[in-house]
Symmetry: C2
Subunit: 547 residues, 2 copies
């Protein structure tokens, strides 16, 4: 691109302020180099079974890595430099002196340069994402590539806007009657300190870069603590960020990668360190609540949620079932935005052909999923693989003794015979069987909950969002009054509603610059990508006065 840093940030901020469609990096792999897939695959393969190259190793205290490809079911064999928490903090504090005094424009230029460098490795990152998270190639490309870069740019643009909100210097003049009192004043955005970003196993870059770029842009230094099973995608990103820093004459350790293992985790030691002032966290609720409970830290969390679908009436049942099937199957239900509980009145739903019974909805959804999974051109490309074996065990355990319209089954994969896969199980439950459905069942698990009526459906969805958290809610209705009631009731528990999605609109997709991801108002998380708070909480305005 030949537009300047400032122009790019203005463009990105204008898009998010107007919430209109914008993308700085196109989401289609076809928009990139023709040989991208081929050379990306080769680049990915060249990283396997050796120490990871391109990242800062100074002071490295060993090498470790334990990633396993959900497609190959073998270890990747990549080892990353290991640093103790104390070394990471020491490096960070030393880099901070330089980074916090680096002018805002320079920081922005370096961080955008980093994103451009990352864009040159989108294909390689896509394969890295596939073979750590189990995402399909296309999803890995989009989520870890352009969509992650867009989310990072969104944060940079918001931070740039906020950092420039107040003037750096002014003359303040107050008339005191017989004379003017004049003071010179300045206003400084002082960074809080060392920022820790704790990543998750399923979206190692998409969920990490917003907080990371937000903290760096506002003058803090970053330590990325990835999930030990999903390091490679973010390791490539950190490597490119370090290159951009070094190219600008700054220390690589402005951003560091702090890798650990499941057996010897370092997240708590880092989080509790007095130098760590900011923590971004994506992952399970128990650890997230611990992170939120730490006193004296500025914390941004995305924890688990339980997402609802409410069906009251439909114009085209087949289109609705097909849409739900896609959203539930995409990455095998391992998205934080995927639906889990589908609330259907016991008396059925309204359709143009009259009432469709609860049982017909139940089997209709199951059939739509089966068609998708068994379609050789779609199945594996949509469902991908299962990141963690615990998910397969969960599906088996939850299915026992239930009324099931569609059992979870392996997803045929022509390319990877050993892939760990599982299609969604579709289970019928009564509304009062809350020990079954009113909990997070991560993975491809769908409950079709039989409710008293549409009002009851809404009540259950709202209570669930309030107590367990929710990131999305999908509603099908042609009744304007009911739609308004659903919107206001779910919004009160800080849950966004998507209405009557069919075709190529899916509830699990939140568009950068337009859709807020997680509201921050219910237990699914305390922050959102990206409002002003997401950047403003990372620094403090201090004003000085001189006579």
């Amino acid at each position: 691109m030949n537009t300047t840093t400032n122009e790019r940030l203005q463009l990105a901020y204008a898009a998010q302020e107007s919430r209109t469609f914008y993308s700085a990096w196109p989401e289609s792999p076809r928009a990139y180099a023709e040989d991208g897939m081929q050379s990306g695959l080769l680049a990915f393969q060249s990283l396997l079974i050796q120490n990871f190259v391109g990242i800062q190793t100074q002071g490295c205290e060993g090498w470790l890595g334990e990633e396993i490809s959900p497609y190959l079911m073998t270890g990747l064999g990549i080892k990353y430099p290991a640093f103790s928490p104390d070394t990471l903090i020491q490096n960070a504090e030393s880099a901070q002196k330089i980074w916090s005094s680096t002018p805002i424009d320079v920081r922005a230029t370096i961080l955008i340069d980093a994103l451009d460098r990352v864009a040159n490795r989108f294909f390689e990152i896509a394969y890295a994402t596939m073979h750590t998270t189990g995402q399909s190639f296309l999803m890995g490309f989009q989520a870890s590539g352009p969509h992650a870069n867009d989310r990072a740019l969104e944060v940079l643009a918001m931070a740039f806007k906020e950092l420039n909100r107040f003037p750096s210097d002014i003359n303040w003049v107050k008339n005191m009657g017989k004379f003017d009192l004049t003071l010179q004043k300045n206003y400084k955005a002082i960074p809080k300190g060392v920022a820790l970003v704790i990543g998750c196993s399923t979206f190692p870059t998409w969920n990490t870069v917003p907080g990371l770029f937000g903290s760096l842009m506002t003058g803090n230094v970053g330590i990325v603590k990835p999930h030990p099973k999903s390091v490679l995608p973010i390791a490539i990103v950190v490597a490119e960020m370090q290159k951009a820093l070094v190219a600008a004459g700054l220390p690589a350790s402005v951003v560091q990668l702090g890798v650990d293992t499941l057996a010897n985790p370092i997240a708590k030691k880092l989080a509790e360190h007095s130098a760590v002032k900011i923590i971004d966290y994506t992952g399970g609720s128990a650890f997230g609540e611990y992170i939120e409970s730490l006193q004296g830290k500025t914390v941004f969390t995305e924890k688990s949620g339980v997402n609802s679908v409410i069906i009251e009436s439909v114009s085209d049942a087949a289109a609705v079932f097909s849409n739900i099937a896609f959203s539930a199957s995409l990455y095998s239900g391992q998205m934080c935005t995927a639906p889990q509980n589908i609330f259907v009145p016991s008396a059925g739903i309204h359709t143009p052909d009259g009432i469709m019974s609860y049982d017909a909805v139940f089997s209709g959804i199951a059939n739509a999923i089966q068609n998708l999974v068994e379609n050789p051109k779609m199945g594996s490309g949509i469902l991908g693989a299962i990141q963690n074996d615990a998910t397969n065990k969960r599906i088996k355990a939850i299915s026992l003794g239930k009324r099931i319209a569609l059992q979870s089954m392996p997803v045929p994969n022509a390319e990877f015979a050993d892939a760990r896969t599982a299609s969604p199980v579709v289970i019928a439950v009564e509304a009062d069987d809350i020990t079954t459905w009113k909990q997070e069942c991560f993975g491809p698990i769908l409950f079709v909950v039989k409710t008293l009526d549409a009002a009851h459906s809404l009540q259950l969805a709202s209570e669930s969002a309030e107590s367990l958290g929710a990131i999305t809610c999908l509603c099908y209705s042609n009744d304007i009054a009911y739609m308004n009631e659903v919107e206001s009731t779910m919004n009160k528990v800080f849950t966004p509603v998507s209405f009557n999605f069919t075709g190529s609109a899916f509830v699990n997709q939140h568009a950068a610059f337009s859709d807020f991801h997680v509201t921050g108002g219910n237990p699914s998380g305390n922050a959102t990508f990206t409002d002003a708070q997401f950047v403003n909480r990372r620094f403090v305005w201090v004003g000085n006065r001189k006579m």
Copy 2:
């Protein structure tokens, strides 16, 4: 005023964005009605020794009040309607349904109307402030009147700006290759719930209205829990707010006054109630830390701090001592912005006439204070009275056995013979006597701390700000390198610095629209008047999508 709500908010926001001088209500009593003092006094007197009128009493469960005038040393005899925490919450939740759906423009118009109504009672509020806090008439007028109104308007303008940051409705169009995907999207600022504002005894309106107006403007309902010894000024404000609400056809209980007594406090019961989502608190650190530790609440605090003066060199010693004397004497050191510790090198300070010794600085400050206190035209008008007897006891206790240049003494008051007064005590301490000076000693207590050199002074001031909190720092120096070092070192512990203030510039005065009050970055508090976070943390953005 004949400008519209929108114009007034735009004007106020433009001032705060540019940080230039602005005042929507002039600070001089002379700018108001000629008979203001006379009619204000009569209005105040008419409130004494009876139940407070003008405030909502529906569901009132008794009457209570225990205010004592620090000038008269007798009880005011005013009783306020008492409500149990449960009744307050119930009223709040019922009002919330209506208030949260009241359009932003209407909320703004009502809240500005409330400020205009408050302005009509500035003189009465000034007397109410005098006879609860011990402030002088002029300070009570300014702080509880125009300055408080300006701080409230500042928050309204910031909230109005932020609430309108994103469009309420858009069409989002994404080209999908062969077709466009179009979604209708809306964005709503959803209020968090019931907002509690816990006031302090010394600035009952100035410290209360920013949080209160911020919460109300963003759609939350408010419960004001004043300090039981300083109710009247904010009771008048709440009464005027309720009038503005009722005049607009809305329930008075959108804002409620929840009075308690020292013996039967209700703050904890309210703060811990599940319906209370937002808490603004001003007061001591111990209770403030308890408030900050409450999980699931959005909390804004201003706690105690210890403010430093650093003297390295001066151009005009007399002007400097006179400035410090004024800042230390204003409201008898009971301002959260008042200096406590004056760091002076043991080798003395640089002056145009050569080195001035530590002892000369010590006695110079003491003499300047004595001149001010004993000046019959200035003394009582600047020092006012002591709000709480504990302050007088503290002065006595801390003075025992110390090297003292000026003992605390009564401040002659021609008008109020019984006034509880105390002038600043000026104590010499060694730097290593940290059990004496490195603690908050609220009230008119000044320590002149003897340091190794100017660098040591800065180190001590910075460590104190980091561990105990600081709201202000005053520095006297003509050495540019030293000034830069002071600014960057104190700013790193999130403390603003005022340099070389003499004449009519005083470190304790933070101007609305221009000076951030408390940074939120050190233990003196976690929020600031007024940055974007101060309003954004009170609501949540939720976006909905329709096909």
